[in-house]
């Protein structure tokens, strides 16, 4: 008897535009001690399915119109669909707990963590006072929070994203539920923190026999933790089976397409599907493109410091060194990726390049012009050669402008066209180039899907014929299959127009496919700089190695065989950057010199520790290839690292 068995569940939304069958007859079962993943893209109905199980679908407009949810517990068998709200509340939180994507919205920002946890205990287990506090602290320790007693007194905003998600899990586990429903619990987190949370969920499953219904869009996560997988598409489960069957031998074309659309960190191989595949030139060819005579962009010792105001009269009391002495070059028609955990300064670097934040120090030469010193009219003129594609295609387009007005705006601002009407032929051409139609010109952004909106953003960035395009996580808000389409488009445009991309991403698999060269940033500094293939084949910095090891692979067998070294903890606050090498508190290889002396970026000498051992067997195979290429070509194709380990290693 499975713990929970969903039979023919149907949930519809009754809107004035018609009935939307969000969940259209699904069958799903979760056994005790099993992790079942529900995978699908946005709109596939996976979240609604989870909410339906708990009777949490907002009514109106939603309603469960059919099917059963049989929950077999120590009290016997119950159909959750027919339960009264009162009985349902007893199950919810008590026997079935749920965690959400954004833990900040699920925690009460006005209450410290402690009272929120003890409230749950009082409500469901009748524990009060010191006993409840002790139990809450025990549970926080259980989910891996380093100082449970301190944490009880902290408010949600004082915790990092990963810690908040741990608190949410602790809260969910307080009543010792039989089933945990997790709705994209790691989507908002960095890969390194995601790896930690996944380990925690796996440990809980193994130790307490917890059953987990895990909703995600990330096949890598699925490969890591799932026992069984259900693939949802348009409200139906199109494929279900063990994780090995579904991911290695997908039977349904949709699963296969989804599977192929996911790039891999460990290989360039398995993406051949023309419609869904990124057509970026293979790295070996694009090295030639980077060896042009003069680089398009030269950044020297760039720094962006923000004052933190506090106290009386809002004096600057402290300084956040968001970017602290970054230098790099970007060639014509080259794609340079900036990667790192959130808060590492990658977005700030990009925005400083475009002069969207104030520079504290340094030079930024774009196409021969030092833009760092420009202002007013001259800065506006310089902006024509540097444009940006934004992360959030929903918020970065003015909701009150039509596509025509949006794309024509740069042309009007720079007086290339006098009126919107004059810009129309140009705009129509751009819009068709990015894959939209002329009929779309008079529609508003909200009428488009995420991918289409990102196309509008790209058309807008291209309107002025820029040479440099900064793309700040351009696909991270999009579904996997749409990502490949947008990246394809960006590569095509790069080849057509000789664009240089500064590509900011936290998704290393995308970087591997898209970038020619990669800069790894940690706390405002570059710790490693290398051609893409060299970086992925032989990551030199321990931080890069940890980042790569944290990315789950879509191959379940490979994923499980891999030795993992999840990076402990999270990046320290940029307010108090550690002495010496900023990474040393989290580094397994740190020695005295790391604590006192900051390493400089220098050309790689030899193998850092046993790199193959750190990076895992899958990467080890290609070490020789990478090492061979590292010394090849111009300055810019060198592999550089800022780590003392590299110096002590034999050359």
């Amino acid at each position: 008897m499975p713990l929970i068995s969903v039979e023919g569940l149907r949930t519809s939304f009754f809107t004035h535009a018609g009935v939307v069958r969000a969940v259209d007859g699904i069958d799903l079962a979760v056994e005790r001690g099993e992790v079942v993943c529900v995978v699908g893209e946005s709109g596939s109905g996976k979240t609604v399915a989870a909410l339906s199980i708990l009777g949490l679908v907002p009514d109106p407009p939603g309603r469960i119109v059919g099917g059963r949810v049989v929950f077999t517990d120590r009290d016997g068998e119950r159909d959750l669909v027919g339960l009264s709200p009162r009985e349902l509340r007893k199950v919810r939180g008590n026997r079935i707990a749920m965690i959400f994507q954004d833990p900040m919205t699920a925690l009460n920002p006005y209450l410290a963590v402690g009272p929120q946890l003890t409230e749950v205990l009082a409500l469901h287990r009748g524990m009060r006072g010191r006993e409840a506090t002790r139990e809450a602290a025990r549970m926080l320790g259980e989910v891996g929070l380093p100082a449970p007693e301190t944490c009880l007194r902290q408010f949600p905003h004082e915790l990092s994203g990963g810690m908040r998600q741990r608190v949410m899990i602790a809260m969910a586990l307080l009543c010792e539920p039989a089933l945990l429903i997790a709705d994209e619990p790691t989507t908002a987190l960095d890969v390194t923190v995601q790896a930690q949370i996944l380990e925690l969920i796996l440990a809980l499953k193994n130790k307490a026999g917890l059953a987990v219904l895990f909703i995600t869009h990330d096949l890598g996560v699925v490969a890591r933790i799932a026992d069984r997988v259900a693939v949802m598409y348009a409200g139906k489960i199109v494929e279900e089976g063990s994780v090995f069957d579904v991911l290695e031998r997908p039977a349904h074309p949709y699963t296969a397409a989804l599977r192929r659309a996911v790039p891999s960190v460990t290989s360039d191989q398995p993406m051949r599907e023309p419609a869904l595949v990124c057509a970026a030139a293979p790295p070996s060819e694009s090295v030639a493109a980077t060896t042009g005579p003069t680089p398009l962009v030269v950044v020297e010792d760039l720094a962006v410091h923000f004052p933190v105001r506090g106290g009386l009269f809002a004096r600057a009391t402290q300084t956040v060194k968001a970017v602290d002495g970054v230098s790099f070059e970007l060639g014509h028609a080259e794609t340079l990726a900036l990667v790192g955990e959130s808060g590492c300064g990658k977005s700030t670097t990009a925005r400083a390049l475009l002069r969207l934040v104030r520079l504290s120090r340094g030079r930024v030469i774009i196409d021969g012009v030092d833009v760092a010193g420009l202002s007013g009219q001259r800065l506006r003129r310089a902006r024509r050669s540097m444009q940006m594609i934004f992360q959030d295609p929903y918020a970065s387009l003015d909701p009150r402008m039509t596509v025509l007005e949006l794309v024509a705006e740069p042309l009007l601002v720079h007086r290339i066209c006098k009126r919107t009407r004059d810009a129309r032929p140009l705009v129509a051409q751009l819009i068709e180039r990015v894959g939209l139609a002329q009929e779309h010109l008079h529609r508003y952004p909200h009428e488009f899907s995420g991918g289409q909106r990102q196309r509008i953003g790209i058309a807008r960035a291209l309107a002025l014929g820029p040479k440099l395009v900064v793309a700040d996580e351009p696909v991270s808000a999009l579904d996997v299959s749409i990502r490949a389409q947008i990246l394809n488009l960006m590569s095509e445009l790069q080849r057509e127009r000789g664009l240089s991309y500064l590509f900011i991403a936290h998704d290393l698999a995308t970087v591997r496919r898209f970038a020619d060269r990669v800069l790894v940033m940690y706390l405002g500094r570059i710790v490693e700089s290398a051609p893409t293939h060299s970086l992925f084949a032989t990551p030199a910095h321990p931080y890069t190695q940890a980042l790569l090891a944290a990315v789950p692979s879509v191959e379940p067998a490979e994923e499980r065989a891999r030795r993992r070294l999840p990076l402990a903890g999270e990046p320290p606050s940029p307010l108090s950057v550690p002495q010496g090498c900023a990474f040393h508190p989290r580094c397994a290889h740190a020695f005295d010199r790391c604590r006192n002396e900051r390493p400089e970026l220098r050309k790689i000498r030899g193998s850092v520790v046993a790199r193959s051992e750190l990076a895992g067997a899958a990467i080890a195979g290609s070490v020789r290839v990478g090492a061979g290429v590292a010394g090849f070509g111009s300055e810019r194709s060198q592999h550089e690292v800022a780590c003392h380990l590299d110096e002590v290693a034999p050359p």
């Binding site: 009150r400 601002v413 807008r460």
Partner: protein, 326 residues
């Protein structure tokens, strides 16, 4: 890219090419309450223009022998204490009330939106200084200020009156005619009320602008090289329009009521001129005996305020392309 677009295309019904104004008008027409309000307001306005002009009685024609009479075929809304036809007076008063409401709101709208958006958008020092001025003005008992002004400067031959006469004298030789004094008083009321009610508008606009300033589309506009002023006018203000319009429609009834209060004190509209506020105030004195003298102007006031509120709601929705009423 045909394969790519078909993968994510979604059905979008559309009326084809149209401007923002045409779109907004189309959306407004779908809102029945707003359309009805617009029609009622239009009818009232037309009545205010036509009834006093075409009616068989003058607004100041007294008939002391007749005195107060309830509504009849001769006088549809009855007559007041002096035997004046109430209907003519109500519609004549409507001219003054409408003018006060609309003009004062426009004054407060212009000052408030400019002040608030500049303070909110440019922030820091500018914001601090501008908003401290607003705070200081808030502490001012504005009605007393208006009363003092009108007693000392806006009286017949006072400083403000002389300035008004001088300005008007440029256009018409009749400006010195004492019968123009009531016109001056009403203009003074417009200006004073507008100047009194922009403070809250400025605060609301500032809050909206500060929230919108942080939106990515503002940074996106900056990245294409748009100037700060054009970002404020083209991106920030249009997106702040919803609350601004709602507050503006709430200001209209507020200034109408304040005008009534000032008139009641003898500072705004003076007999034999009329405004709804003045009519209601004098009707209130005798409402236990002659209720119709109160009921009709009060009813007009209520209907107008009701319509303005609904029109404001409709406008807010119509000006937001994200809200579709299909």
């Amino acid at each position: 890219m045909s394969a790519a677009t078909s993968g994510e295309s979604e059905p979008i019904e559309d009326a084809g090419g149209s401007t923002f104004a045409a779109d907004a008008w189309r959306r407004l027409r779908k809102n029945r309450a707003a359309v009805a309000s617009l029609a009622v307001l239009g009818a009232l306005l037309l009545g205010c223009i036509l009834v006093p002009a075409l009616g068989s009685y003058g607004y100041a024609d007294t008939d002391l022998a007749l005195g107060p009479t309830p509504p009849s075929w001769a006088h549809w809304m009855g007559t007041d204490l002096f035997g004046r036809d109430l209907m003519v007076r109500v519609f004549f008063g409507g001219r003054v009330s409408f003018a006060v409401g609309v003009v004062s709101t426009a004054v407060s709208f212009v000052i408030g939106v400019t002040w608030g958006s500049v303070a909110g958008f440019f922030g820091r020092r500018i914001d601090a200084v501008m908003m401290r001025i607003v705070d200081a003005l808030y502490t001012f008992p504005f009605l007393i200020f208006v009363i003092l002004l009108s007693v000392f400067f806006a009286n017949q031959g006072g400083l403000l009156h002389r300035a008004f006469v001088r300005v008007l004298g440029l256009f018409t030789a009749r400006a010195h005619d004492p019968s123009y004094f009531p016109v001056f008083q009403i203009v003074f009321v417009f200006a004073a009320l507008g100047a009194a009610s922009w403070l809250t508008m400025a605060r609301i606009v500032r809050g909206q602008v500060i929230a919108l300033r942080a939106q990515p589309f503002v940074e996106a506009a900056r990245s294409i090289g748009a100037t700060e002023a054009s970002i404020l006018v083209r991106h920030v203000l249009p997106n702040a329009l919803g609350p601004i319009i709602v507050y503006a429609t709430l200001t209209v009834p507020e200034v109408m009521l304040t005008e009534a209060f000032l008139s009641f004190l003898g500072l705004g509209t003076q007999e034999p001129l009329a405004s709804w506020g003045l009519l209601a105030a004098s009707g209130a004195e005798t409402m236990d005996v002659y209720p119709w003298v109160l009921v009709f102007p009060a009813l007009m006031l209520a209907v107008t305020l009701f319509c303005f509120n609904h029109l404001g709601d409709g406008l807010r929705d119509a000006l937001d392309p994200r809200i579709r009423k299909d």
